[in-house]
């Protein structure tokens, strides 16, 4: 009995994986082929990047604050009062390597990946994708490439921005709210925190950006079944992108070296 459930599931899984892989190859190839859709690319840069700033600001700020709070508590309870300033580098490293890339990835998947699936999905069911083809335009070049490229560029930018906000959030909690010694906190941070920690987060962000755009576009391009289909595609794009981000994040953390020193 179990076999009968697993075979169609795996069948479908590998079929969809194949679709995603093919789309990725076409999209990456398309980046280097003319004509380049500059206008749509700029629109997408704004949509993915600029318009995500409020959401990223809030999540990064509160992420940094709460991470600062727990780190403070941990040092205060387990190492003892006075040791809290040692939390500085832990907060910075933890935010830049893990928390901020993940938060940015999930937020962008939720607000941009879903919009890509909904927009392209609507175009699919109203025959606008067929219309592109009939007018000699490639949907990959016209729709997918600008979105993928914008995501590849903007998700790391947002992550870098989130790093700054998050670290400032952790610093604010410890130094301004809990009156941890500011000099020691900054000294400790600078002593142990490396540029490589930021780089790890940015490498992850590039991967997440690719995943978000490809999954959103893939769900849009394969939408079927009217308004309900668009709804399904939108939901699925968020679920698939979010899960992929969390799973890939673990393996990237495992693969990328802890330090370059």
């Amino acid at each position: 009995m179990e076999k009968q459930i697993w075979i169609p599931f795996l069948n479908n899984f590998f079929y969809e994986l194949g679709q995603v892989f093919e789309l990725t190859v076409q999209a990456v190839k398309g980046i280097f082929q003319k004509p380049f859709e500059k206008r749509i690319f700029l629109q997408q840069l704004e949509e993915v990047g600029v318009n995500s700033l409020p959401v990223v600001s809030l999540t990064a700020a509160f992420g940094g604050l709460v991470f600062g709070l727990q780190t403070y508590l941990a040092f205060h309870r387990y190492i003892g009062p006075g040791s809290e300033s040692q939390g500085g580098p832990i907060i910075a490293v933890g935010l830049c390597r893990e928390l901020i890339p993940i938060l940015v990835g999930l937020m962008v998947a939720g607000r941009v990946g879903s919009a890509m699936a909904a927009e392209i999905g609507t175009m699919k069911i109203t025959e606008q994708i067929d219309a592109l083809l009939s007018l000699g335009a490639s949907p990959i070049k016209y729709l997918v490439v600008p979105r993928v490229l914008a995501s590849l560029i903007m998700v790391p930018c947002l992550t870098l921005y989130g790093d700054v906000i998050g670290i400032f959030g952790g610093f604010t909690y410890n130094v301004y709210l809990m009156h941890v010694n500011q000099t020691l906190y900054v000294q400790n941070t600078l002593k142990y925190f490396e540029i490589w920690d930021v780089s790890v987060g940015l490498i992850k962000a590039v991967v997440f950006g690719l995943v978000i755009a490809i999954v959103g576009c893939w769900q849009g391009m394969t939408t079927e079944g009217g308004a309900e289909g668009v709804g399904r595609a939108t939901t699925k794009s968020v679920v698939v992108a979010s899960i992929s981000i969390l799973i890939l994040n673990f393996f990237l953390s495992k693969i990328l070296p802890a330090t370059l020193k």
């Binding site: 219309a131 009939s134 335009a137």
Partner: protein
């Protein structure tokens, strides 16, 4: 030589066989109307002719060139020969009317912005629209959308125009205006036209020849007169719109 020749075209979606060996020849300059029930595969056939869909087997020749084996890049170039009016017009809803109409021009020609602007205005006037260039598709009525869709399809002077249910969803007066446009475009541009429809008014008004698609095959081809006098009971049931007869599938 026939403009378009379709040979033994087969297409299935999963278990469902939609086209089961379609054969059809369309002559240069004629208007071929393909009739058939909703869901009989008329749109699928149309999408094979312009290369959006690939058949499971069979061949399609356009001006003698076999197109089903072309790569997507080659098909992009060939798409200049075709202009298609989609059922719901399929206007790009993020672009203005002018940008929609200019879309094919930008891809198929090297005209300057000034020339493109002139061509857009001329195409819109040809379908009876003025001063709508800066509107967005959602601001248009259904009939206007179809006209803009048609302007977009003819802007780059294609040799073949395909109409997917051109009058569906329009009131009888607007529908007849579209019929007149189809006739006018044929006269002015000397294009080959393929119209798929289940609207018999349109069929009799614009057709040089009629082909009926039924059960995945073309069961009858002929002039409107020949089709009216067809001995085939399936054809008779369809053209007279009777609920009872040999066609019983729902």
């Amino acid at each position: 030589m026939s403009k378009i020749k379709i040979v033994d075209l087969h297409k299935s979606f999963g278990e469902k066989k939609v086209l089961k060996g379609v054969n059809l020849e369309i002559q240069p300059g004629e208007t071929m109307v393909i009739i058939g029930q909703s869901g009989s595969g008329k749109s699928v056939l149309l999408k094979h002719i312009i290369g959006i869909m690939k058949p499971d087997s069979g061949k399609i020749f356009v001006d003698g060139q076999e197109i089903t084996s072309l790569s997507s890049e080659e098909m992009m170039k060939l798409s200049r020969k075709f202009g298609m009016l989609f059922q719901g017009a399929a206007l790009f809803d993020s672009l203005t009317v002018a940008e929609n109409v200019a879309f094919g021009l930008r891809r198929h020609t090297n005209l300057s912005e000034e020339e493109i602007k002139e061509m857009v205005t001329a195409s819109l006037e040809r379908v009876g629209l003025r001063g709508v260039e800066n509107l967005l598709p959602y601001e248009l009525s259904g009939g206007m959308k179809k006209r803009v869709g048609l302007a977009r399809a003819i802007a780059y002077s294609p040799e073949i125009i395909l109409y997917d249910e051109p009058t569906t969803g329009l009131d009888p007066i607007r529908a007849d205006a579209i019929n007149d446009l189809i006739l006018q475009l044929k006269k002015d541009l000397k294009v080959t036209s393929i119209v798929i429809t289940h609207d018999m008014n349109t069929t009799y008004k614009v057709a040089d020849r009629i082909a009926m698609l039924y059960d995945g095959r073309i069961i009858e081809v002929g002039t409107p007169e020949e089709i009216k006098n067809s001995a085939n009971p399936v054809v008779q049931q369809f053209i007279h719109g009777r609920a009872t007869g040999p066609i019983a599938e729902w």
